[in-house]
Amino acid sequence: MNKRQNNNPILELENVYKSYNGVKALTDVHFDLHPGEVHALVGENGAGKSTLVKIIMGVIQTDAGSINLDGEPVKISNPQVAQDLGIAAIYQEPMVFPDLNVAENIFISHAQRGSIVKWSKMFRDAEEILGKLDVKLNVRMPARGLTVAAQQAVEIAKAISLNVRILIMDEPTSSLSAHEVEQLFKLIRALRNQGVAILFIGHRLEEVLEISDRVSVFRDGCWISTKPRDEITIDGVIRDMVGREFSEFFSKTKTERGDLLLSVRNLYKENTFHDINFDVYRGEVLVFAGLIGSHRTDVGLALFGVEPADSGEIMLEGNSYRIKSPEQALKLGIAYATEDRRHLGLTMPMSICSNISLPLLRDYLNKLGLIKRIEEEKTAEVFRKRLDIRASSVNISVENLSGGNQQKVMISKWLNTDPKLLILDEPTRGIDVGTKAEVHKMINDLTGRGIAVILISSDLPEVLAMSDRILVMREGKQMGIFEQKKAEQELIMAAAMGQNNIKQGVAL
């Protein structure tokens, strides 16, 4: 019945190291999974959780360290190997075939069922598996129409049908209602009781504590602690997640807060965010804090016109606007530096100066519409000096730059537009410490000159160090705005996770 008493780990990772582009993602990490347990992994964004998952799923390889399955060393060189070993993962965004029906989606990977599809048997088997999980779905419907919760149930059913032994669930509850979460947990418990080892990654601490048998905390790529559920308190977990020195980071120099620049009221976008209200003043840094899935980026995209909001008021310097396109936003003096630097922030094969001039290309054209290359280069040189971009010339392709320098080029691009409001989305993620400090210095510089900055960040020390005020969001909802003086890491994290004790420091 309950196979939890097996003390031999089914999966064991030891001394694992992994770096990307010089940034350490995992350092000397230990992690193990026992059959018949739910082992939760918590940590801030960037703690290394997704890197660990990718290693277990065979998507990436460790730089050093060992992986043992059932006590034997293994090399998970690609996802197919992982699947053959009985490892499956369910992500936030389930991977279903929208045009195939539910039953087909469940049995899609099965080779043994033969070349001929026996529909009635497939429907029956699907209903049986779903029945075991106590889920009611019309197995004949195409998967396209299913809610995320239902799609997840399908994925779990699929895993069961493949006799999965290790199931990774990466933020499965972020799109679910409370009721759906309960259903999901029933499924998870059913799986656990059948001896499956479950790695559960989640941000809602109450949920984590409810479902897990053990909880491990990662921070900054290092393993911090692993404790059985009865020895854990929420405060203790939060402390493990955030506890660190933040003296090495730049602090925001105090500047006089200027006039009101931007006012946002009742901003709403279907299924994305709602009831967003805040003001931004010249010369201040308003930080958007929160966890993955909080939809902070979407608010930024709405302000920049890339994905306009459905309704709400945006007032800039007293005038009300509906921002429908990035062109319009730029004209209004709003700039947005994306978090996805490689795919959305820069045009890869092009040179540094071409990238920098792009939003304002119009200003670099002569009367005939031809590009004034010299002007472009001049501008690029100015930024190269100002932000200390390490490159042999401004004409080389940005592809060959390091992450930090690419970030600087992207930021230069937006600084060049002389914005009144600069929205920076995770500007220091995946960047080395030195460049981080430079970015912070630049933010100080900007606010000193009266520019307003909205900084979207998941890095708590950065949030506290660089902010004048902090707006915390959780799953599209605004949890509150903190004054910097009254804020502490644990308070912010608690708010970001939806804890109820956020009475202190809430200001609008």
Partner: protein, 349 residues
């Protein structure tokens, strides 16, 4: 002296390996052709070379812009035919040829606007839309001309297509070179051209940088429609007559000229230098085959093979490079594991 040499080689590298490769191929073909026909490299012969396909290569220019932008216009030859047929139809019904020409150009523009609307603003797939309009516009052309062939255009019209304007060069050839120069300037040196590349490279990133993607695509299709109409009229002038199926089947040559020229079908890269070289290559190949008495159909087949190889070649080369990289890594890992003795390697499929 040494410095100059270094600079030259450096410049050569920057132009791009593919263009150099094309140059070499071109040299070989011209050489082979010259062996066959001693007067091959005379101005007259070279001009003739161009004359036969002048309308196609004009459209290859706009097609290059579109493909670099990540789109395609399969309906261009049909717009050519439509403009030619429409003008002939008007002329046959008594209209002044000059006015007919202007109206036909406007029709081409309208076709471009039609395409651009569905593709840029409704966001339909450009392949399906231009495929549909390949049929649709051609159908309209046939509508005007039915089975007939219309000719006997006024002298000035024929003159443009047939007689030489300056020395041995006909009007259309001069027009081509003017357009080529304008195209090069626009694509490589202007803001519009830069945006075309950026959009083709990464549409979303372009949008995030404030580029008005829809408007640029729309303009490109408008231009394509207009230029196609112009080319169609030139074709009518050169032949002296128009039929319902004028300019059928040109899309193969045009796409080959672009793709062989190093323009990636996926968008974002390619230059007009390369396209010009590939135009020369295709023209010289066709000419060489004519000299060797291969029929038009045979030539078309050869062009088809060239198209396949110009995309297949780089693909296979890339796959080979990726494969050999993987193999190297596996061999290295195998070595470390063998020395380790304990680790088990699970082979990838």
């Amino acid at each position: 002296m040494l410095n100059n040499k270094k600079n030259f080689l450096g410049k050569l590298k920057r132009i791009g390996g593919w263009e150099v490769f094309l140059l070499v191929i071109l040299a070989i073909i011209v050489f082979l052709n010259t062996l066959r026909a001693p007067n091959y490299l005379t101005i007259n012969n070279q001009v003739n070379l161009f004359k036969l396909s002048i309308e196609k290569i004009i459209i290859a220019l706009t097609m290059t812009f579109l493909i670099i932008n990540g789109e395609i216009d399969l309906s261009a030859p049909s717009i050519m035919g439509l403009a030619a047929c429409f003008s002939a139809f008007l002329y046959e019904n008594g209209m002044n040829m000059g006015i007919a020409v202007v109206l036909s150009l406007l029709v081409g523009l309208a076709c471009g606007i039609f395409n651009g609307f569905w593709i840029a603003y409704v966001s339909l797939n450009s392949l399906v839309v231009t495929l549909a309009m390949l049929i649709g516009f051609r159908g309209l052309a046939r509508l005007f001309l039915e089975d007939r062939s219309i000719g006997y255009f006024p002298d000035w019209f024929n003159f443009i297509g047939q007689k030489n304007l300056i020395g041995p060069f006909p009007f259309s050839l001069i027009l081509f070179f003017i357009l080529l120069i304008i195209a090069i300037i626009v694509l490589q040196f202007s803001g519009f051209g830069r945006r075309v590349y950026v959009i083709g490279n990464n549409k979303e990133a372009a949008r995030y940088s404030g580029v008005n993607v829809k408007r640029i695509k729309f303009h490109l299709y408008m231009a394509s429609g207009f230029i196609s109409a112009l080319a169609g009229l030139l074709l009518a002038a050169r032949y002296g007559a128009v039929r319902g199926d004028t300019a059928t089947g040109y899309e193969l040559d045009i796409i080959t000229m672009a793709l062989l020229g190093g323009v990636s079908i996926f968008g974002g890269s390619g230059t007009l230098w390369g396209v010009f070289l590939s135009i020369m290559i295709i023209l010289n190949i066709r000419n060489g085959m004519s000299l060797a008495s291969f029929s038009g159909h045979y030539q078309t087949g050869v062009i088809g093979v060239i198209l396949i190889f110009s995309v297949l070649g780089p693909n296979i080369a890339n796959q080979f490079i990726a494969w050999s990289k993987r193999r190297k890594r596996m061999i290295e890992e195998q070595k470390t594991c063998e020395s380790d003795g304990k680790e088990v390697i699970i082979e990838t499929k």
